[in-house]
Amino acid sequence: MTILEAQSAIEAEIVEGTGRDGVEILSACGADLMSDVMAFVKDQVLLLTGLINVQVVRTAMLMDIQAICFVRGKAPSEEMIEMAKENGIVLLRTKLPMYLACGKLYQAGVRQGGVRKIE
């Protein structure tokens, strides 16, 4: 699924990176704790989060995550938008809460989650 298709599925708007909305995403991760993102996420991921600070964008950058969607109507700060722009990361926002955003994305066909087995 492309970011553009995901945008439609989760009723989101693109805040930054409209030119890169054709990028493919294979899986998604809903998390507010960035270490969990680093523990479980692989490639071509859409990160859904309710957390607003620059470390979200930095985590995405270091993990090669190409798209972040902020849920519950939250908006990224100017500093976050700037950092995303510099690193080619697409930022979206939706008014949906985390649970519904994840559910709608799953229903639309993004079925892959984390890659590491929890023992």
Partner: protein
Amino acid sequence: MTYHFAVSGDDFSRAGNASSEMKKILQRLGIPPETIKRTAVAMYEAEINMVVHAGGGVADIEIDPGQITIVMSDHGPGIADLELAMQDGYSTAPEAIRELGFGAGMGLTNMKRNSDEMVIDTAVGKGTTVTMKILIPGA
């Protein structure tokens, strides 16, 4: 090649600057992407730990043909129970840090999983030095 970074302890928003810089350097050197990601995550978690627990510190990175060595040193409080600290989900980070998206108790295990070798030298009241080695495949 060696690189040195000072990690400031007073500004959480700047935590991770050294790891971001290091990632760019490794990309320029043509290191395989998977190795870059492992190095970046291991170093980033260590950097966050330094800022959250130790008031900052220093990071020294050495790149050899076959491996990357990251040495993160601080003069913080040290780790009282290392075995406990290494358990997934165990954290002594204050609540305010969790609100910033960290303190999940995954940092040290993320560092270990992304390294081929990790050694922690810590003493209560003196500080902590974490040495992580990451092999470069095909080198």
